[in-house]
């Protein structure tokens, strides 16, 4: 009977608080993760919006190709009118 009471005391004063502390830790971590995910959403949306201009790279690519072609033609003309070293 004495051991039973000792077991009851241990259960109430040690096991129950430890279980509560551990569960509270898990709950706090989950709440912190939830807040971080909420903060992540607008950032991801803004990053996605910032990348809208990436489509313009295709135009840049075409412009660079045309510019290099013009420079090549201009270089050919320079090659003709300027003397070699």
């Amino acid at each position: 009977m004495t051991l039973w009471w000792i077991g009851n005391v241990v259960l109430l004063l040690v096991i129950v608080p430890v279980v509560v502390i551990l569960l509270r830790g898990v709950l706090n971590a989950a709440k912190a993760t939830s807040g971080t995910v909420d903060a992540l959403r607008p950032v991801a949306e803004a990053a996605s919006k910032d990348l809208d201009a990436v489509e313009l790279l295709n135009t840049t690519q075409e412009q660079v190709s045309q510019t290099v072609a013009v420079v090549a033609n201009y270089g050919g003309s320079l090659d003709t009118i300027l003397e070699d070293a």
């Binding site: 009471w5 009851n8 996605s48």
Partner: protein
């Protein structure tokens, strides 16, 4: 029932209650997290799909630009010579002359061109239809004043300053293209204007 059994039952019920309350709260939080991640993953998917073609396009642009750079450097080497080409690039883009030497497969010190590339100025002046410097061939006797040749060359430029200010706190200018030819600005201090004026006298 014995009091010890009652206390044991109460303790066990307390543990189970704590488990239920906290686990339900954790489950609710995890559902919130899942919903949030579902929203985030849409934006992340957008980022991935939008940035997917970037590598290919940028590589293509770099390839075109490299071809243009090679072309212009080749032309510069052909027209100015290897030493002068590196020096000219260095004069316009400080520090880039060494890279030109490296691409030429050479090492050493980059030639110092200074502010005015006399040979280039002479060639450009020769192209000016009304420029007295353009009246004669590049080879042969000197067409410029041998005593004040630097002054004459500098006068071809609309900003005859130097990258270093002439006086403390004074203005500094990078050399500009010579103001010569039929479309040269009328208010420029080009040599051709001065020469025309002197010819008129």
């Amino acid at each position: 029932m014995e009091p010890a059994a009652v206390v044991t039952l109460i303790a066990v019920v307390l543990v189970i209650l704590a488990l239920v309350v906290y686990l339900v709260a954790v489950i609710l939080e995890l559902r919130k997290i899942t919903a949030g991640l579902d929203a985030v993953i849409e934006s992340v998917g957008g980022i991935v799909s939008k940035s997917k073609p970037v590598n290919g396009v940028v590589e293509s642009i770099n390839k075109d630009l490299s071809a243009g750079t090679d072309l212009l450097e080749g032309l510069l080497e052909k027209k100015a010579g290897k030493d002068d080409a590196a020096g000219l690039v260095e004069s316009v883009f400080p520090g880039a002359g060494a890279a030109v030497l490296e691409r030429q497969g050479r090492t050493g010190e980059v030639k110092n061109i200074d502010e005015v590339y006399t040979r280039g100025a002479l060639q450009l002046a020769r192209l000016g239809r009304e420029s007295p410097l353009g009246a004669g061939p590049v080879s042969g006797a000197a067409l410029r004043d041998p005593t004040n040749s630097s002054t004459a060359a500098r006068s071809l430029y609309s900003h005859p300053g130097s990258p270093v200010a002439d006086e403390p706190g004074g203005p500094s200018h990078q050399p500009r293209s010579p103001t010569i030819g039929a479309e040269a600005p009328a208010d420029g201090d080009s040599a051709s204007d001065k020469s025309k004026a002197s010819d008129g006298e």
